[in-house]
């Protein structure tokens, strides 16, 4: 397996604060890769840098060996990069189905002329798009919501819609920013199954998440950030035992206690 995403020496400062400092890690193709760390550790900033929403002060980002560091946001979608947002950003006025279809923008090929004259090629593409979008909605369980305005969905549904929209571009790498936030355990479990299926479709996932049970169960590999720096990296089993990580989360006492009895909610 090769590295699909390669991040080297990434740094970002906001005014006086160093949000990300010399972060280096790789995401292997076919993996579900977790990015964890306490609040304010710089995880979302790393996402913003990878997706291009923010320009880095320093460092390199490469997708499939090709540097995307200086590409504008919209150009990265064409390289197979998609993402969701921590504070859900759907197109509220558009329907659920249209949101998914918009997600496919970068891979559609219809030209202005084809759209204007509704050529057979355009029709075929739109028909395929519609089918694929409905199928994606099926996958995230929103098929029966297809014609509602996205703004009318519940919180959990909106999260799932964002994932469907992210998948619509048939990305190679999907960045998920706290996909389980605000979900109850039942929903979280369903989400885990969904993401498993997504990986099985051949999509590599990089996710930021706070629900540790979720992360530990789902991820193949984990990178831990604290104070904008990488403090640990490895498979879940290792990370769970890594004293540096434990200290970052619980402090030394909690870590000691954790060593005795493990259980989950």
């Amino acid at each position: 397996m090769t590295a699909l995403l390669h991040v080297t020496g990434l740094s970002k400062r906001f005014r006086g604060l160093t949000a990300v400092a010399h972060v280096t890690f790789s995401v292997r193709a076919g993996h579900i890769h977790g990015l964890i760390g306490p609040n304010g550790a710089g995880k979302t900033t790393v996402f913003n840098l990878i997706s291009g929403v923010l320009p880095p002060d320093d460092g390199e980002i490469a997708v499939d060996g090709r540097s995307v560091t200086r590409l504008p946001v919209h150009a990265r979608a064409g390289l197979g990069l998609a993402r969701t947002f921590q504070n859900i950003r759907l197109f509220d006025g558009m329907t659920v189905l249209e949101n998914v279809a918009t997600g496919a923008h970068a891979r559609l090929t219809a030209t202005l002329m084809q759209c204007l004259f509704r050529t057979p090629a355009w029709r075929a593409e739109e028909r395929r798009l519609r089918e694929q979008s409905l199928e994606l909605l099926e996958v995230v369980g929103l098929r029966d919501r297809a014609d509602l305005p996205a703004g009318d969905l519940s919180y959990g549904e909106q999260r799932r819609l964002e994932i469907a929209r992210g998948l619509a571009s048939a990305p190679r790498l999907l960045l998920l920013d706290e996909p389980a936030a605000g979900m109850n355990p039942h929903e979280t479990e369903a989400l885990a199954r969904l993401l498993g299926r997504v990986r099985d479709r051949g999509v590599t996932l990089l996710l930021v998440e706070h629900d540790m049970g979720f992360v530990m169960k789902l991820c193949d590999w984990i990178t831990v950030l604290n104070f904008g720096r990488c403090i640990a990296e490895g498979p879940p089993a290792e990370i769970r035992r890594d004293p540096v990580v434990i200290e970052a989360y619980l402090g030394a006492k909690g870590a000691a206690r954790l060593a005795c009895g493990e259980s989950s909610l």
Partner: protein, 286 residues
């Protein structure tokens, strides 16, 4: 049927205005649909009018070419204004386009060829009613076709959330610039038609009030679909002619409409929203 001819003759200007204002409203829609506000539609219209009138007065170009040139000239100017301002927030384009209206007025007033403050008169009446409505029909059909394609979805996405749209691979600045260019072309076309319909144009015909009137077409109609602005234009163009007493209050009325509609009827009188994904294969409903 002479009485019909008479009615058509009597209302010819009104009928032309209905179509021309429909085109202008559509030009406003194209910008608004992409999430920007231009107050330069009147200026683009004026540029089209002057370009068309000068070509007709001084060259023997066929009308089709004159129309094409009148659409292109404002598009070039729109690019000069749009490229720096579309990188910034919406207010910059609004300000720059208001300024454009003023500066073009200064140009018309000072350039010898434009007849200065006296304007241009004796412009041949080359506009036929069918041309206007053919253009309006085509523009409307085009707006629908494009609006229901990936381009239309991209426009609404960039209006709704610029960052999310960018992440979907949508180039916001380029999309909004394209919308502005198309809009300028439509307005230029409308200007060319109006110049060849009224036979006389002057530098003060394309001022701020005209821009606001065009905006009021779009706002009244609503921007959920291209139909809204056109209906708005038809209503606001016919109304003063129908309700003569309203004439005195024309500008007051336009201003009032914008204020009331934005505050109380944000989706306009045609609240219908155009679907962005064709409902082609109905068969596979769940």
């Amino acid at each position: 049927m002479p009485w019909l001819d008479d009615i058509l003759w009597t209302y010819q200007t009104l009928i032309h205005s209905l179509g021309i204002n429909g085109l202008l409203a559509l030009s406003m829609y194209v910008v608004l649909a992409a999430g920007q506000l231009s107050l330069g539609q009147a200026a683009f219209m004026g540029l089209g009018a002057y370009t068309g009138a000068l070509l007709s007065l001084h060259t023997g170009l066929p009308f089709a070419l004159v129309l094409a040139a009148s659409a292109l000239a404002p598009a070039v100017v729109a690019a000069v204004i749009g490229i720096p301002t579309l990188r910034l927030t919406g207010v910059y384009l609004a300000i720059a386009t208001i300024g454009l209206g003023e500066v073009l007025r200064v140009v018309y007033v000072n350039a010898g060829i434009t007849g200065g403050a006296l304007g241009l008169n004796g412009i041949p009446g080359r506009t036929e009613t069918w041309m206007i409505f053919l253009a309006l029909g085509l523009a409307l059909a085009g707006a629908f076709a494009v609006g229901q394609s990936r381009i239309g979805r991209a426009m609404e996405a960039m209006r709704s959330d610029g960052i999310a749209a960018a992440v979907m691979g949508i180039d916001r600045a380029a999309g909004q610039l394209a919308a502005l260019l198309v809009s300028a072309m439509l307005a230029g076309l409308a200007g060319c038609f109006s110049a060849h319909s009224a036979s006389f144009i002057g530098p003060n015909d394309y001022a701020f009030e005209t821009a606001v009137t065009i905006l009021s077409f779009a706002i009244l109609g609503g921007t959920g679909s291209p139909l809204g602005p056109v209906v708005g234009a038809l209503v606001l163009t016919a109304l003063p002619e129908v309700l003569r007493p309203l004439q005195d209050f024309r500008l007051v009325f336009n201003g009032l409409i914008i204020v009331l509609v934005v505050l109380f009827l944000p989706r306009g009188v045609v609240p219908w929203r155009m679907p962005r994904l064709g409902r082609l294969p109905r068969g596979m409903a769940p």
